[in-house]
Symmetry: C2
Subunit: 408 residues, 2 copies
């Protein structure tokens, strides 16, 4: 039921020089399913990451943070699906460590140079032996041109793989970027495990890469979540192999802005693919909140709308029951909001004027917009000049079915 989400075109997914991908079937949750992905990076690559803030953050997330914080030269990543290794306590940490140890040993690097990722069911022990057994197969399979299969290997309840490439021309040569992502339940994506990985051949200073990764995450993956990056396993990783002639050392480098824009654009594409493939999604909604005093209040209101089950079911039903949007604005927690200054548009249709129903609004006009598969909701708070955008999907019967049956 994905909304306007074509399958990635294999030929358009560009290999990244210095980055190889290897897939294996470990049989973690089901047999005959690609469920382990190893990414091998050329020495000298720089890697940055943004992770969940959940207090029950998964064991692999804890190891990733530690390994990046210690500024280890990361040379490999390992991702498994079928089990999140979250809510698993010290034993979970030990198993994530065993996974790193096994991959490091097989590659002849140290365990601190490995970043581990897991996604799947929470509170169940990671079948680490299955993963360790699959590692040699994944290593044998390593090749540069395998992003499509990599995107397939990280899927859980996703209905299709998510991947995209981008080439940016700069004065010193092209930068190639390819990324993959996965999502899951979208009604509260802070509970979904969202994973995003982007590889690029650029050479870039690691601090700058980390700063850009945070910025790109805020404008993409974090703009499709409710409460910030708060699942147990959410991770977004950017890997720069340094194999391109293009080098960026600081913000004054001529290629900096082009790379920044490209990274944000690719991150948004990958994040929006997650929304388009949201569990049971039939509509793709863009929630724009402008006229705010600051970014925080715009995001807060946009997310309040984006995550109201009543708003989402109205979109599912194509019912312009738009008072539900006003209510969601009102309870978002912006305490000094003056409701009489608020304007609301559905597509181009001006629905609420100065906090009340626009006298010229006709329900037939609202109805026409509601029937579309892609809908933009615009709110003007009338109290400033800041704007933020959030993307979401509707809430359908299919969502309940998927989540009621997830483990069966």
């Amino acid at each position: 039921m994905a909304v306007n989400l074509p399958l990635p075109n294999k030929d358009e997914l560009k290999p990244i020089k210095g980055l190889k991908l290897g897939i294996a079937e470990a049989g973690i949750k089901r047999a005959n399913r690609k469920d382990v992905l190893v990414i091998r990076l050329v020495p000298g690559s720089n890697v940055s990451g943004v992770f969940t803030q959940n207090r029950f953050c998964a064991a692999p997330v804890q190891l990733c943070r530690a390994h990046l914080l210690e500024r280890n030269p990361i040379e490999a990543l390992i991702i498994n699906t079928g089990n999140a290794n979250a809510g698993t306590g010290n034993e979970g940490l030990r198993r994530a460590q065993q996974t790193c140890d096994a991959l490091a040993h097989a590659l002849g690097i140290s365990a601190e140079q490995v970043l581990p990722f897991s996604t799947g069911v929470i509170l169940e022990p990671l079948p680490v032996e299955k993963i360790i057994t699959a590692i040699p197969k994944a290593i044998t399979a390593l090749k540069e041109d395998d992003w499509y299969a990599a995107a397939e290997a990280i899927m859980t309840t996703d209905t299709q793989p998510k991947a995209a490439s981008l080439t940016i021309q700069t004065s010193t040569g092209p930068i190639v970027m390819t990324g993959i992502s996965k999502g899951a339940g979208m009604i509260q994506p802070n509970m979904a495990t969202m994973l995003g990985f982007i590889g690029t051949d650029l050479s870039i200073n690691v601090d700058l890469l980390q700063e850009l990764t945070r910025e790109a995450a805020d404008l993409s993956f974090n703009a499709i979540t409710i409460d910030g990056d708060t699942s147990t396993n959410d991770s977004f990783i950017v890997m720069a192999t340094g194999q391109s002639p293009v080098r960026i050392q600081n913000k004054s480098d001529p290629s900096y802005s082009a790379f920044r824009e490209g990274l944000i654009s690719l991150s948004r594409q990958l994040a929006q693919m997650i929304v388009r493939d949201g569990e049971g999604a039939t509509k793709f909604m863009t929630i724009r909140v402008k006229g705010g005093r600051n970014s925080a209040e715009c995001k807060r209101i946009a997310k309040s709308i984006a995550h109201s089950p009543l708003v989402k079911t109205a979109f599912f039903a194509s019912d312009p029951n738009l008072g539900r949007i006003l209510a969601a604005i009102g309870y978002a927690g912006v305490d000094d909001l003056d409701s009489t200054k608020v304007q609301l548009w559905l597509g181009d249709v001006w629905v609420a004027r100065d906090g009340g129903r626009n006298p010229e609004y006709k329900e037939a006009d609202g109805q026409a917009v509601m029937k579309q598969a892609e809908i933009t909701v615009t709110v003007d708070l009338g109290r400033g000049s800041v704007e933020e955008t959030v993307w979401t999907c509707d809430l359908s019967h299919e969502y309940v079915s998927i989540n009621a049956d997830y483990r069966s």
Copy 2:
């Protein structure tokens, strides 16, 4: 699909001396439906109220606040269903005022002595003429013994009327209390219009009554909401007619504790009835969070669990996918929570010990609890001695159907 919610027994709903109820059919949204309720109070009654904090609070809520704040001697209430008169701007205020004017004129009191309430669809103009036409009929129908019909008259998507009575024996005589309530969508009840009205024959100081009303609301109606009392129309009203020989002037009065406990108990009954009749509910869940440092963090975590769609769909499916509960604890926003101190029980089954799966936990035990219609989830945060409880229901296919079809 209500969960263990028997119809109120008409004979057990006690009339309150000095309080009369009158019902009429105004045809606001549909013909042949009781949709207007007038409550007439004997002069000298004291009335207190707690209202939504939503910035788009409905026009009638604004008038109620003003009339109570001015300490007008309230003598009448008027409640309509079928239209919330919210998101209706100044015209909405004018129409709420017209409703008060009409009732006041008919009763020979002033408009400031009337409290108006509306519930139903948002953003549509209140059909005030229909209400005004119905007022004389409601007044003609006024009688003390009509609580059951009153409970029916305030229903929207409720599947059945909600009402209960309580008689408290004190040294100076009995206090009789009768209340009614209504709910709606329960997944984010901050969007539902919850109305609760309790009448009692007690004579009580108005400041003390207001304080007790706030306290009772926090322990009942506010314990079934996410973000506090934040719909556009939520209202909880206590009316004391002063017709009983029992008088309470301050907290040292011997009947004070008995009345306080009775009020909390009746409020909880009425609030829990709303959960039991939650849209599409098939399970009634009690979420107890103990071992907290303060009330705020316990409530925050309880509500985070109670409102996670992934948790709610797991309960609907009777699937002990309990990692979802840990994730909801983790993203509740208690930033310094130590997950290794957290314990989780499902009913009497100890599921998570010290933040990880309890080695002795067997899924069959969790499964047995999940199959029950009433389930208690207990979380121990292991960092203090405060405890809070929240009540909620599951998320079913029926919820989506009801909310996708609400206006059709």
